[in-house]
């Protein structure tokens, strides 16, 4: 087996670069999501993009646009139902996203598309089309351009919304901005890991980083490093087993998380045990 073989193919180089880019966006966003307690929101929005993807195909608009609109619809309608009923948010989410996902599945079986359901559900970064590649890159960069300048405002909003408001920050706008960025990030990750596994990208990097550091700035950096490492490892390994790239990336993420969980210097299981002694 030639270990350098993957690097001889341009599609592999592209896949490595794209997955690193997508991983960076996911890693940064995940730090906010886990602090805000929005892990389930990530899961919900990612499932809810399916009818958007199919709908966009029918209308002949870019799939990313359809996915973004559907994802945002899920998040906003969840908020609206929660505010106007006596049902709790996590329950509402469970109803809205499964409903939208099911709708997407039915639409998919009724409408002939040349997109493979498997590719949408599980990602297809090794066989990514030109258009989709560019859509992914553009959405990723746009998301980074929004997240990075606003990272301190978003942090303040997650930490103490009342204080943010008293300083004159528009917390409503930040809330919807974070939701939009979430939807956009999911759109960007679809090609890499697919709808079903996106939530892993949105949760694991932040959790791993949280175990390794107590400073938010460091957390962002650690999350990015861990995710880029996991993404590239996943892509690399999937070359040899010939597929399931998204799943390989997610497994690599989970392995790195497990290592952090056990060996993290301050918050790891071993360190905890030692401090109890």
């Amino acid at each position: 087996m030639n270990l350098a073989a993957p690097f001889q193919y341009s599609f592999m180089i592209e896949a490595l670069l794209v997955s690193a880019l997508v991983g960076t966006v996911c890693a940064i966003l995940s730090c906010y999501l886990i602090l805000k307690g929005w892990a389930l929101m990530g899961d919900a929005v990612s499932h809810a993009v399916l009818p958007g993807v199919v709908g966009a195909y029918v209308l002949g608009i870019p799939l990313a646009v359809g996915a973004f609109i559907a994802g945002l619809t899920c998040a906003i309608s969840t908020g609206w139902i929660k505010a106007n009923s006596r049902i709790k948010e996590d329950t509402v989410m469970g109803i809205v996203f499964t409903g939208m996902f099911a709708l997407g599945l039915v639409m998919f079986t009724q409408i002939k598309t040349d997109a493979h359901l498997n590719h949408i559900l599980f990602g297809n970064i090794l066989g990514i089309e030109r258009d989709d590649l560019w859509a992914t890159v553009i959405v990723s960069i746009a998301t980074l351009l929004i997240l990075l300048p606003l990272r301190k405002d978003l942090l303040l909003y997650c930490f103490d919304p009342a204080h943010a408001r008293s300083l004159g920050l528009n917390t409503n706008r930040l809330h919807y901005l974070l939701l939009s960025v979430l939807a956009a990030t999911i759109v960007a990750s679809l090609q890499a890991v697919g709808i079903l596994l996106v939530v892993a990208m949105l949760v694991t990097p932040g959790c791993t980083a949280r175990l390794l550091t107590d400073r938010f700035d460091h957390m962002l950096i650690v999350a990015v490093v861990v995710t880029v490492l996991a993404s590239c490892t996943g892509v690399y390994i999937s070359f040899f087993i010939n597929g399931a790239t998204g799943a390989c990336i997610v497994i690599a993420q989970a392995l790195l998380f497990s290592l952090a969980l056990v060996f993290a210097p301050k918050h790891g299981l071993i360190a905890n045990k030692r401090s109890l002694r």
Binding site: P149, D153, F159, A162, H163, D214, R215
Partner: protein, 299 residues
Amino acid sequence: MPERLSIEVTDVTAVYANGHIALRNASFKLGPGTICALVGVNGSGKSTLFKTIMGFVRPAKGTVRIAGGTVEEARRQKIVAYVPQTEEVDWSFPVSVWDVVMMGRYGHMNFLRIPRAEDRRIVSESLDRVGMTEFKERQIGELSGGQKKRVFLARALAQRGQIILLDEPFTGVDVQTESAIIDLLRELRDEGHIMLVSTHNLGSVPEFCDQVVLVNRTILAAGPTETVFTEENLSLAFGGVLRQFHFDESTIQDHDGRTVKLLTDDERPLVFGKDGHLEYKDRLGREHLVKEREKEGRD
């Protein structure tokens, strides 16, 4: 500091989203250099009052004026700072003491929130003032109850808020920290700040608050502590909620038919002496004060 720092709440009625009235026809007024206690049972509208002053809740009727301007103008000038309840904060959040106090400066920074030398100077000065400089690198969850309170007080100082709203600043705080916080509030009062303190700690109110606002879905009474913080008013504010002990025999004096009363809202008790006056913690050697207060009250 604005020319005339003040809070003027005039005839404010605030309504919850579900249509219930949280506060009806509330009016009171505070001038510069004041520590005012906000006293009432849970659900009496204390937090609604805070929210209307911060502009989070728009009154259905009536007005709130801060330093002569609207709440929005006050927010733009960062006049009102808020010190949250300990339970409201996520203490596992990956921020250090320094980071939290620096957040007080965000309103004064540019769009990218990059601290200037001036911001860093104010943050370390604020930390110094609350005695938390040596803990500035700590993650906030690694602090004691009193230290946590002081961090958020430092954030309010760093914000340069001239009106500081404190929500339950003494819960989970040891006696030593409590008096340190009270000392700091007194200093701020002497500098002209207005502090509005929501508290269940009835016993400490007469010690450091010069004004009291009693709330129960409206303002029951507002004004100087000596005249407002009376047994009748407190019974009005709390109904039967307060624990009440009557001692028919004082431990100091012989039985004479009168009683010493002790009121507590679960924290430090408030003691009314036999003459119905407020008892103080450090009464020893200050007995004459009690008599003087009583005389002032009669005049």
